[in-house]
Amino acid sequence: MKGPVLQVAGLRKVFQRGGFLLGKRDENVAVHDMSFALLPGKTLAIVGESGSGKSTTARLAMRLLDADLGEISWAGTPVMALSGGQLRKHRKRIQMVFQDPFASLNPKMKIVDTVAEGLRVHQPHLSAATRAEKVKQTLALCGIGEEAMNRYPHQFSGGQRQRIGIARALIVEPDILVLDEPVSALDVSVQAQVLNLLKDLQQQKGLAYLFISHDLSVVQHIADDVLVMFAGHVVESGSVDQVFHRPQHPYTQSLLDARPINHPNERKSALEIKADEGVAKTGCVFALRCPVVQVDCSSFDMQLNNGCACLHPLTKG
């Protein structure tokens, strides 16, 4: 049996604001006590609204940001204590695809150089010819022809650029891809192409995906397991089937209710129009927005129990 390729335990990240010369130092806990394990060939999605800490979690897991507390291991190797060259050696295990294909490719670099960059770092002994051959193969795998190699990013559409971004991540043969909103900047027709490509690559290579998204229909389509985040806390975790069909946490339910409808027949006569309330400072962070809030919620410590951080879950796990 194979163990998880990516495992994190007890991750915590605090961002400091202000405090220089004037004003009080302000602490913002972006991620509280986050733990998860990702198995080879599987997709774990993190969903939540902006500011919930999902992108921060992805960056912590990649060690693009340093966590204040917690453990991270890539393919069984603990990496929290590594730095410099040692860390770089392990970085090829985990690669990232970014959200905005218009901002994440260097406009001054040819596609071949952008995609080959990872090879220069991780396999510097390769000859130029071998490197070019590898770039060609990896681009082909992502549905980009050889003629693209000597072009620049502005000559490609959003969907093609995202394929190039995926090729750049794949060329060092990682075990894990971290995908931060990889299709949210794309048109629905192009989004479908990229999602199909991701599925194919996963099947061919047994890749594990950490998939960050706020789009529940995309997540339902592509993920095996889901973590739902709110204000830095995991409020619910489970299989896609459980979370989408038997949600336990009221926040998960509210996200599901907010999904776009499929047909004009599903229109509700009255929709909520008032502005969103904020995040509670003590007790359950969702209490201010929760439809089933009770008195004891103000002293809840947000611990997950049976995959749900709620004192009054909607269904029993």
Binding site: I261, H263, I273
Partner: protein, 322 residues
């Protein structure tokens, strides 16, 4: 009534005027929502901006056709009157709430500017009106909001402010260009609720530009699907959802993750929207269409299909339906 008649627009590409919207006709009536749907690059935002003659600053030119507000042409209108129409009779809500507000002016001064331009209210009345507008868009704590600057507000709050600004000139028509795309799902639903309530309460005519069929399902009465600068299908929202007749409309609806079972393969449309200048002869969708035949090399008109207002630009409608 706000009407686009047979409008063709050109955009500048390497110093040449290239046709980007061709012979497009649409009409917007008070109290109803018309959705203009299509992929990026099909000309939908260009069309929306042209309804306020905004594209002209980026070199967009009218080649032929007209835009009529209550039978008066926007193109022959004096500048002074056009300025009254912009933000007055016709207001606009832009896609990016993060960039549509000016970061160096307070929310209050930005809302008051619109009120002062379009009404005769004195400063006290204008201030009261601003607070009233904020309440209308679901923002209760207006007094302190007016003092704040855009950077202190979330995306959803900013979009509410922009909607309040759009309502400030008491418009008859609203052009909303992807009003919810940049927002979180939970916020999206509330903004949809807000737009729908305002539109119905005030009997506004709305042009909703979007690529999101979910938003269309929530809001539209009529739908026009655009492809490569022209309308290829138009009808009531029920016509489009229940009997999509053009291969493009059908394909676009099938691409959505909702349309397949978990883990299944998504339908795709091969290739991409042809750029202005490379539409070719005949049907502009033919290179990506599974129904295409030689007969598709003839350009066809938008024709009524089946009953009433449903119109399609395709010779293979019967085959598509089967």
């Amino acid at each position: 009534m706000l009407e686009i008649r047979n409008l063709s627009l050109s955009i500048p590409i390497s110093n040449q005027a290239v046709l980007a919207v061709s012979e497009l006709s649409l009409s917007l009536t008070e109290g109803s929502v018309l959705a203009l749907v299509g992929e990026s690059g099909c000309g939908k935002s260009l069309t929306a901006q042209s309804m306020l003659r905004l594209g002209e600053y980026q070199g967009v030119r009218r080649v032929e056709g007209d835009i009529l507000l209550h039978n008066q042409s926007l193109f022959s209108m004096p500048d002074k009157q056009l300025r009254q129409v912009r933000g007055g009779s016709i207001a606009m809500i832009f896609q990016e709430p993060m960039t549509a507000l000016n970061p160096v002016f307070s929310i209050g001064s930005q809302i008051l500017e619109v009120i002062q331009l379009h009404t005769d209210l004195n400063p006290q009345q204008a201030h009261a009106r601003a607070l009233e507008l904020l309440v209308d868009v679901g923002l209760q704590d207006g007094k302190s909001l007016l003092q704040q600057y855009p950077d202190a507000l979330s995306g959803g709050m900013r979009q509410r402010i922009l909607i309040a600004m759009a309502m400030a000139g008491n418009p008859e028509f609203i052009i909303a260009d992807e009003p919810t795309t940049a927002l979180d799902v939970s916020v999206q639903k509330r903004i949809i609720g807000l737009l729908r309530t305002l539109q119905q309460d005030k009997g506004l005519g709305m042009l909703l530009v979007t690529h999101d069929f979910g938003l269309v399902a929530e809001m539209a009465d009529e739908v026009a699907v655009m492809y490569a600068g022209e309308i290829i299908e138009q009808g009531s929202v029920m016509d489009i959802f229940d009997f999509p007749a053009h291969p493009y409309t059908k394909a676009l609806m099938n691409c959505r993750p909702e349309s397949v079972k978990h883990g299944g393969r998504l339908a795709v449309i091969p290739g991409k929207v042809p750029a202005p200048g490379s539409w070719g002869q005949g049907c502009r969708f033919k290179s990506r269409c599974t129904f295409a035949t030689d007969a598709c090399n003839q350009h066809v008109a938008l024709e009524t299909w089946q009953q009433g207002t449903h119109q399609v630009r395709c010779i293979h409608v019967e085959a598509v339906r089967a």
